[in-house]
């Protein structure tokens, strides 16, 4: 799960990490009073107006505006609220801005990058900092890896001061900023652990002209498996930021990701679902989605899966690929028939059922009188569904 910048900063604040502070508005009527409040409370004439969407790269897309006066801030907020912000992470259609964050403006002496995530291979957390803040860290990692300083932290022991000192020294800090940075790093690790985050990132963390160390941004990814222990974080979910079909699918307990192609697919199991998408591509088609109905597919989940796939109007044909291990294929076949009868057969459907009771399932489908195209194996299924999609 992801959250907005301002929500992440509020979490930072609760862990004692200094932030560039401000207030969020959703209605433009609240802009003037909020701008005044920020100017007064943080003693700064200039403010920064920041679009709140989950995608990164907001600055380059025009979603972050330094505003020296209240008038300019109001103009920027007016333009931003409701705009479709396009960044390299949103795709060409962009993401609608529903919330704008108005923050204090700070004089920046230096910008740093800082992040914590799990190093799977070492079974430890890795804490990374770089003096190349505010830019794309992937680029730094690829071109000048020596500019990224890393320490590995044993989660059972927690972060130790020498590790935080190594990071702060690595950034070339001295004096008060050094001491502050060490504290901030320790608190950030505490925050990462305490929230069951899988990634926490500050880009940039800044040193202000008056030598304060402050988080100018926040990015969190949370471990979905652990979200049950954090109802407060779970409440921060903003469904507006997610694809509406994906939200609907998650309500049915289906794992759906929309893609750009026109061959819909419904599969049991994530690995087999990926392999099915791959074989569709090899057969000359483009998958329209990833859809895992779960290892134990039921008639109900098949029906819901159908609904979800058909809501994508680009879909020209559907492939159902179920390897019945524990689940019985005849039940899946009945689910397919039920779904087709209820929802109608708007596009050709190719069905491949393998495993327990596969023969009975084939009989059920062929005797149903529905125009379902049976397939013998994955290769056959992929070829049939791709040629059906092309015919249309």
């Amino acid at each position: 799960m992801k959250i907005h910048e301002y929500q992440g900063k509020n979490i930072f604040k609760s862990y004692g990490i200094p932030i560039q502070d401000g207030y969020v508005i959703e209605e433009i009527e609240d802009a003037s009073s909020t701008i005044k409040k920020v100017q007064k409370e943080f003693n700064s004439d200039a403010v920064v107006v920041k679009a709140q969407i989950h995608a990164g790269g907001r600055g380059k897309g025009g979603g972050v505006k330094y505003s020296p006066t209240a008038e300019e801030a109001l103009t920027n907020a007016t333009n931003m609220l409701g705009m479709n912000l396009v960044t390299h992470q949103t795709g060409p259609e962009g993401q609608k801005v529903r919330k704008v964050y108005i923050t204090e403006a700070l004089d920046i002496k230096n910008e740093y990058y800082c992040a914590i995530t799990l190093d799977r291979a070492k079974t430890k957390d890795v804490f990374m900092v770089s003096s190349e803040g505010g830019v794309e860290i992937e680029k730094v990692a690829a071109e000048t890896p020596e500019k990224i300083i890393k320490v590995w932290i044993d989660p059972l022991v927690g972060m130790k001061s020498f590790q935080a000192r190594k990071l702060a020294f690595g950034l070339g800090l001295t004096g008060t900023p050094f001491k502050t940075a060490v504290k901030v790093f320790m608190k950030l690790y505490e925050c990462y652990q305490g929230t069951d985050a899988s990634l926490v990132e500050i880009n940039p963390l800044i040193l202000s002209e008056d030598d304060r160390v402050i988080a100018l941004d926040s990015k969190f990814n949370f471990d979905d498996n652990a979200i049950y222990r954090h109802p407060d974080i779970s409440d921060l979910r903003d469904k507006n930021e997610e694809d509406p079909t994906e939200v609907e699918a998650s309500e049915y307990d289906l794992n759906y990701i929309k893609l750009d192609g026109n061959v819909g697919c419904m599969v049991n199991g994530a690995g087999l679902a990926m392999a099915t998408m791959d074989i569709i591509k090899l057969a000359g088609g483009e998958p329209a989605n990833f859809l895992d109905v779960g290892g134990a597919a039921s008639a109900e989940s098949v029906k819901n899966g159908f609904k979800i796939i058909l809501s994508d109007e680009h879909v020209k044909a559907i492939l159902i690929n179920i390897f019945g291990g524990i689940v019985r294929c005849d039940r899946v076949a009945n689910g397919v028939i039920q779904a087709v009868k209820e929802l109608g057969l708007k596009v050709p459907v190719v069905v491949r059922l393998e495993g327990t009771n596969a023969e009975e399932a084939k009989t059920i489908l062929s005797e149903s009188g529905l125009a379902i195209i049976p397939a013998n194996d994955m290769k056959d299924a992929a070829q049939k569904v791709v040629s059906a999609a092309l015919k249309d």
Binding site: T123, P155, L156, Q193, A270, G271, M274, M277
Partner: protein, 292 residues
């Protein structure tokens, strides 16, 4: 011969009175697995599965009373990591955790304990292990397998069944098939399984099924180049997966670098593994590899 489990494995089922546990314990018994005990705290003293299996309050008790040396876990995600630790502390040699959705931080702790105690863990979030015609320790459908000389190791569930089906189609049976799980933190890795298959005289070739995310397949391929004499056929799922999106498994996300399907396929090939572009080619490729 085979790896990890055989007809002599004495199995305790943790969470045997839950619906998943009961269902799969029954299936395992029917396959011929030697299920000797169940564990559910508070239900010790009962017997389940038509009186065939005694239930104990703790893994330790189950081990002492029945000499169980293997356990399989079907407990809900919030308690699964603790179940692993309990089994390890009780002296169980091999623990298979089927549970999906275990928090990463819990797994990091469990992993440390099993490493200290030298317990072998398979999973979590995996379909388990099957040694054909001897022991089914997990949720894999036994009937799709056929006894033979190919070892299968996979990060996936149903895709493993598909791979087994592709092998059977060309007349190749299996020694042992093992699903290691697709989570970021798991017990047994591909390298561990490669080493076991290399030392198993009955295994002539190995199929590895990987996917996007992480470096495990790459590390296994590099290790295999130095240490494996048996032919390996590989498949990586997720050639069409977009970067930054988690594809079902908690570990299946392309975060940049060598964890794309394309990069992994290249690294596997460079290290002498016969890579299939399509999952439908696994059987044919293995036949060819064995005849070379």
């Amino acid at each position: 011969m085979s790896i990890l489990v055989n007809k002599n494995s004495r199995v305790a089922v943790q969470g045997i009175t839950g619906s998943e546990g009961t269902f799969h314990a029954t299936q395992m018994l029917e396959y011929g697995t030697n299920v000797v005990a169940g564990v559910t705290p508070g239900k010790g003293g009962q017997t389940v599965l038509n009186g065939k299996v005694p239930v104990f309050n703790s893994v330790e008790e189950a081990r002492i009373e029945t000499n169980a040396n293997v356990s399989i876990i079907f407990v809900p995600p919030p308690f699964a990591a603790e179940a692993i630790i309990e089994a390890s502390e009780a002296g169980i040699e091999l623990v298979v955790c089927i549970t999906e959705g275990v928090p990463v931080q819990d797994m990091v702790k469990a992993k440390r304990i099993i490493d200290q105690n030298n317990t072998r863990l398979v999973g979590p979030n995996c379909p388990g292990i099957i040694t054909v015609d001897e022991c089914k320790l997990g949720i894999m459908p036994g009937f799709i397998c056929q006894k033979g000389n190919i070892g299968v190791v996979s990060k996936s569930g149903t895709l493993t069944y598909e791979a087994i089906g592709q092998l059977v189609n060309v007349g190749l049976g299996q020694t042992t098939a093992i699903g290691i799980g697709g989570d970021p933190i798991i017990g047994t890795t591909m390298i561990d399984v490669f080493a076991l298959f290399e030392n198993d005289p009955d295994t002539a070739g190995v199929v590895m099924i990987g996917e996007i995310g992480g470096q495990m397949e790459n590390e296994a391929a590099r290790w295999a180049k130095e240490n494996m004499t048996k032919p390996i056929v590989g498949f990586i799922a997720g050639q069409t997966a977009p970067p930054g999106r988690r594809m079902g498994h908690a570990g299946a996300i392309v975060s940049g670098g060598d964890d794309t399907a394309e990069a992994k396929m290249r690294i596997l090939t460079e290290n002498g593994i016969a890579v299939c572009e399509s999952v439908a080619d696994i059987g044919e490729k293995m036949n060819k590899a064995l005849n070379n």
